[in-house]
């Protein structure tokens, strides 16, 4: 093979195998062959161009044209003249297919079927990778940089698949890249990277080896970033759609689909962009919990909707049934709420305040009499504007406490799997042991969940299966889904009919009587049935997320009930029709401070968590450096030579951490002189430094070294003095990335490089060995 050919060919192969992870994204591999052809074509054009010394820009142009032509043949062959030549109708076809692909990407989850559009995108993307690699390797001879395009396919896949992508997909691009580097180091381009080695390696390392090492580093960083970054960015896990991000910016392509309420719940809560869901304004100007759907059946794994037929007879236009179980002497007030749902919220279920009695809406919407959920027969809630009249029930703790036996028609809502984890039942019994009636038990449960032992954590995996329940109760950390589900299960265990409502917290006051509900307001809460009152909302999710609990659910204060203005006995004096007594002044205060607590966005928590995580992360290098030092001393043991070496290494690191010049290739004495001069040391540390210089000299060059007492302590004192002599920035840098880690890293890469070099030379050795055996 011509020497110039080899890198290009290997680059092509590397580009080809680097696209393997993309197989995860589609349901079949039919795009693979066209993509491979595109790669081969790109490489062939590049090879020929360089063979005839065509300028690099022309090669690039030719490659782009050939790839475009190939794409056209793939998706628009029927429009081509004589079946092969591009025609003027091609651009339209390209546009059409691309928009089809966009649509598919927006609506479908992975793996996607390979339509023309997906094929177009796949082949075009892979051809782009091939062109980039060919440009870097063939034209610019920057093989090391080719790691970036080679990692692109993996990064895209990892971005779209998120944590679901196995690490082994990482292997093909890495292998291709390594092969490329090995070939490149054969090519011996010494002009690049010859002086890039660290100063410690001034021993005349061949330039090509340095090149390969730099390349390995670039590749390592690129690939590590590709693996790590998507794992920390929730947006990338949203689906194919958001993974591509940024393109449109408008509402398009960010539709929130609600098919599985529980999944949507967490997805909404963890969306990086807190999109608007809906706005409402109530006739009483106050805030309301907005409910979309009720999960009334627990099968041991998840809360879900029971099978609810919605016949035509249950059209909302024909009136809503009365809320089940509600039987008050005074009929509750009615409140009319105007809703305007954002176009991106394509929910089958209609957001409403419970219990809705009259709904004025276009389209075919039907209700479920047991839950009063309203579901679309043929459309969804996106862009709907409607009004609904709901009852504003004022719950009374006294009545709740006296609630009688539930009527028989809610027995289904006591169903539990036969086997509940012991921890669930034990805790339910334990927490409610002091309560005498159902309502007090429910209140005790709620109070316990809201207590200090639980923390709100959005990163918890969704799920309410038995093991997930037990985990939740062990870890005491989760988000509203777990709180709601667990409380509902415990309530059922305590013979209180219970179900889980999914919807939104009241949202943010926008002024002018309007409230804005956004994705991060998504919420779930348990509803418990009490005869006479019907379904009562409870709020077990900690206050950090939801503010205070509903007034009626607070445990009755038995010692001094009358002194509490909000106590159950005085509910008649409490502001009527206000579910959210925690925000009594919201209308007066307007959209300012008070309302920010209304919608307790998870972001403060996320930010705090991120800051904490970063703080911990920032301490990691310093901790590692400590470990490395301690390990060095331990390894030195009682050997005075090794001890002196450890001491000197530590001094050197301290000097570099302090930003002092440090040349590992100089003598201890010279290094000591430099430090003394640069760090302007006081007398005492200078004497200490001289002492340590002598110790090092003796250990290195004298006939035999003698153990020196207090060496480690002295070293530590001096290195601290040195580090403190650095500027503030310098010290911060030393803390974030201590010099010792650079050394450790260099050692590590050095070892890896040695292995790679060994592999590189293994072929001739193998050949020689084979030749020997052959001769024998």
């Amino acid at each position: 093979m011509i020497p110039q050919t080899r890198p290009t060919v290997v680059a092509g192969i590397a580009a080809l195998i680097s696209i393997i992870p993309l197989l995860e994204l589609t349901d079949n591999a039919s795009w693979l062959a066209p993509a491979a052809i595109a790669v081969v074509v790109v490489c062939a054009v590049g090879l020929m161009g360089r063979q005839f010394r065509v300028p690099g820009a022309l090669i690039l142009l030719a490659q782009l044209m050939v790839v475009t032509w190939w794409l056209g043949l793939l998706i628009a062959a029927d429009l081509a003249w004589f079946g092969v030549f591009p025609s003027t109708t091609w651009p339209d076809r390209f546009r059409a297919v691309a928009s089809e692909a966009n649509e598919a990407i927006e609506t479908l989850g992975t793996p996607v079927p390979v339509s023309d559009g997906i094929l177009l995108y796949m082949v075009a993307g892979i051809a782009a990778i091939a062109i980039a690699v060919d440009l870097l390797v063939g034209t610019w001879r920057r093989s090391a940089l080719a790691g970036v395009p080679l990692a692109a396919a993996y990064a895209v896949t990892a971005g779209i698949q998120g944590g679901d992508l196995g690490w082994w997909w990482f292997v093909p691009p890495a292998v291709g890249y390594m092969a490329l580097l090995i070939v490149e180091s054969r090519r011996r381009v010494s002009a690049w990277g010859s002086s890039a080695g660290p100063p410690t390696d001034a021993s005349g390392e061949p330039a090509a080896v340095a090149l390969a090492r730099n390349g390995r580093r670039v590749g390592g960083v690129a690939l590590a970033a590709a693996v790590a970054i998507p794992a920390f960015v929730p947006i990338l896990t949203d689906g194919v759609v958001s993974g591509r991000g940024g393109g449109g910016g408008s509402g398009d392509g960010r539709t929130i689909r609600t098919d599985n309420p529980i999944l949507d719940l967490q997805r909404n809560l963890t969306r990086p962009d807190n999109v608007d869901i809906l706005r409402y304004s109530a006739s009483d100007s106050s805030s309301h919990y907005i409910r979309t759907v009720t999960l009334d059946s627990f099968d041991g794994d998840v809360w879900k909707m029971s099978d609810r037929p919605v016949p035509e007879s249950q059209r909302v236009s024909e009136g809503m049934p009365e809320p089940p179980g509600l039987d008050l002497e005074e009929p509750p007030d009615e409140v009319e709420i105007q809703f305007a749902v954002d176009t991106i919220y394509a929910s089958k279920w209609l957001p409403l305040a419970y219990p809705a009695q009259h709904i004025d809406i276009d389209g075919d919407w039907r209700y479920d009499p047991a839950t009063l959920d309203v579901v679309a027969a043929d459309s969804d809630a996106a862009g709907m504007v409607y009004s609904a009249v709901s009852l504003d029930v004022t719950f009374d703790a006294a009545i709740l406490q006296d609630a009688g036996e539930p009527r028989t028609d809610v027995d289904d809502l006591l169903d539990l799997p036969d086997e509940l984890p012991d921890i669930v039942t034990d805790l339910a019994d334990e927490v409610t042991s002091d309560a005498s009636d159902d309502f007090s038990r429910a209140a005790a449960l709620q109070q316990w969940f809201r207590g200090p032992s639980f923390t709100y954590d959005l990163t918890t995996q969704p799920g309410t299966s038995s093991s997930a329940l037990a985990d939740f109760l062990e870890d005491r950390s989760g988000y509203c889904e777990q709180f709601a589900a667990t409380m509902a299960i415990m309530a059922r265990y305590l013979d209180i009919p219970a179900r889980v409502a999914v919807g939104f917290t009241p949202g943010t006051f926008e002024g002018d009587g309007t409230w804005l509900v956004r994705a991060h307001d998504a919420h779930a809460w348990p509803e418990l049935y009490f005869e006479g009152m019907g379904w009562v909302r409870f709020e077990p999710t900690p206050a950090a997320r939801t503010g205070t609990a509903p007034a009626w659910t607070l445990e009755p204060n038995e010692t001094a009930p009358d002194e509490e203005p909000d106590s159950p006995d005085n509910t008649s004096t409490a502001p009527p029709t206000n579910d959210l007594d925690q925000f009594p002044d919201e209308d007066i205060l307007g959209g300012g401070g008070s309302t920010t607590t209304t919608s307790q966005s998870p972001w403060p928590l996320v930010v705090a968590g991120t800051v904490a995580a970063l703080a911990v992360l920032a301490c990691v290098p310093a901790a590692l450096a400590r470990v490395r030092r301690a390990w060095r001393w331990r390894r030195a043991g009682a050997d005075p030579v090794a001890q002196a070496a450890a001491s000197w290494a530590e001094i050197g690191e301290a000097a570099r951490d302090a930003g002092l010049p440090w040349d590992a290739a100089t003598t201890p004495r010279a290094a000591g002189r430099t430090i003394t001069a640069q760090a302007s040391l006081a007398d005492e540390p200078r004497i200490l430094l001289d002492h340590l210089v002598r110790v090092t000299e003796r250990a290195r060059y004298a006939r035999r070294a003698e153990p020196v007492s207090d060496l480690r302590a002295d070293t530590s004192v001096l290195s601290h003095t040195l580090v403190r002599s650095g500027s503030r920035i310098q010290r911060a840098r030393a803390f974030l990335w201590p010099a010792t880690l650079t050394d450790g890293w260099n050692q590590l890469t050095g070892r890896v490089t040695a292995v790679l070099d060994w592999m590189e030379t293994s072929r001739p050795r193998l050949r020689a060995a084979l030749a020997r055996t052959g001769r024998r």
Binding site: A649, T667, R669
Partner: protein, 355 residues
């Protein structure tokens, strides 16, 4: 002009049988090798006394004197090269005078004959036998003044003695006394009618020193003190030959670690590989460098050599043996600058395996 101390009797004729090798004088080599820890206080004290004594004569040049002493204790030969009148001969003579031993001064002139240096056999009428009349080199310290003025033949005679530490006249080999140190001076300016030492012969000097002009204050002091007489007349010896032999033996047993050996070899190797040098350092140069470093370490009171010692000595020990290329000469780069650069470039081995 000091009266030369009467020459000591030569070690005596050795029968000119083959091989022409005399038994090595005891105590000269490997004397103190067995001592584990060297007591260098004797040496440092002696060196201090020498430094003071010589310093009283040659003022304001302590570094030069220390370097000269290092060469003295390493039993090497010293080449002092500088313009006239800066005290080359004074340094050489005061060094010789400070040690109570036999000193000969040979003024090299174009008509100086090799036999003047080595000695000659003359027929004794009374005993009717040829009798060896020792030449100028038969002394512990030989001061060769303006060595480049003598003819190459005469120079070679001296240089042979320097290397072999013996003299062969008429088939008879005479061993020279220990210690044997040649301090030669050379004048680089007045080169007309001179025979500059060839490279091969310069290589035999352990180190080359330049005196350099004195500082202003020192020069003023010098006018005061040396207006009437040189301090040489009042210089009393502070040590003697036997003591010197002992100390030289001590210096020999200074420890040189593997790392330092590697470093010395690396330095020499770097001069050979340098683009700026036509001729690099010889293996003898490496040897001289390590020997000088041993003495340097001993003068510092250490019984082991540091790479720093090699660095300090590299220029004086190596520079005079190296030949810069034409390009370097055009660029006014002197060999000593090249050596200094090399010292800065060659990494110092750490000696022990590093964590």
């Amino acid at each position: 002009m000091p009266q030369p101390v009467p020459p000591p009797p030569p070690t005596g004729p050795v029968p000119a049988s083959t091989p022409l090798r005399a038994p090595v004088a005891p105590g000269q080599r490997g004397a103190a090798d067995r001592t584990e820890e060297l007591d260098l206080s004797d040496l440092t004290e002696t060196a201090d006394r020498l430094q003071n004594a010589i310093g009283a004569v040659v003022e304001g040049k302590p570094e030069v004197i220390e370097l000269a002493l290092a060469v003295l204790f390493a039993e090497g030969h010293l080449l002092i090269e500088d313009v006239p009148g800066v005290g080359k001969t004074l340094l050489a003579k005061s060094m010789a005078r400070a040690v109570d031993c036999s000193v000969r001064r040979i003024q090299f002139t174009p008509d100086l004959m090799p036999s003047d240096v080595t000695g000659v056999s003359v027929f004794n009428q009374e005993t009717r036998q040829f009798e060896f009349k020792p030449g100028g080199v038969f002394a512990n310290v030989v001061v060769g003044d303006e060595i480049n003025r003598a003819s190459p033949k005469t120079q070679s005679a001296l240089l042979e003695c320097m290397e072999e530490r013996q003299v062969t006249v008429d088939g008879t080999t005479y061993q020279l006394e220990a210690p044997f140190i040649v301090v030669a001076t050379q004048n680089p300016i007045e080169m007309e009618g001179t025979y500059p030492l060839p490279e091969a012969q310069r290589d035999r000097f352990m180190a080359r020193l330049s005196m350099g002009y004195p500082a202003v204050a020192d020069e003023i002091d010098m006018i005061d003190t040396h207006g009437a007489h040189t301090g040489l007349d009042t210089l009393e010896p502070v040590t003697d030959a036997a003591h010197m032999i002992k100390l030289i033996g001590l210096v020999r047993s200074v420890h040189v670690s593997d790392a330092v050996k590697q470093y010395a070899v690396a330095l020499a190797g770097a001069t050979r590989a340098s683009q700026e040098l036509r001729l690099g350092a010889s293996p003898r140069a490496t040897l001289h460098l390590v020997r000088a470093a041993k003495a340097w370490a001993a003068l510092d009171g250490r019984d082991y050599v540091l790479p720093d010692d090699l660095q300090t000595l590299a220029a004086p020990v190596l520079a005079h043996r190296l030949l810069p290329t034409a390009e370097a000469q055009i660029g006014r780069r002197e060999a000593s600058q090249v050596v200094t650069d090399i010292v800065q470039q060659v990494p110092v081995p750490e000696g022990q395996p590093h964590t």
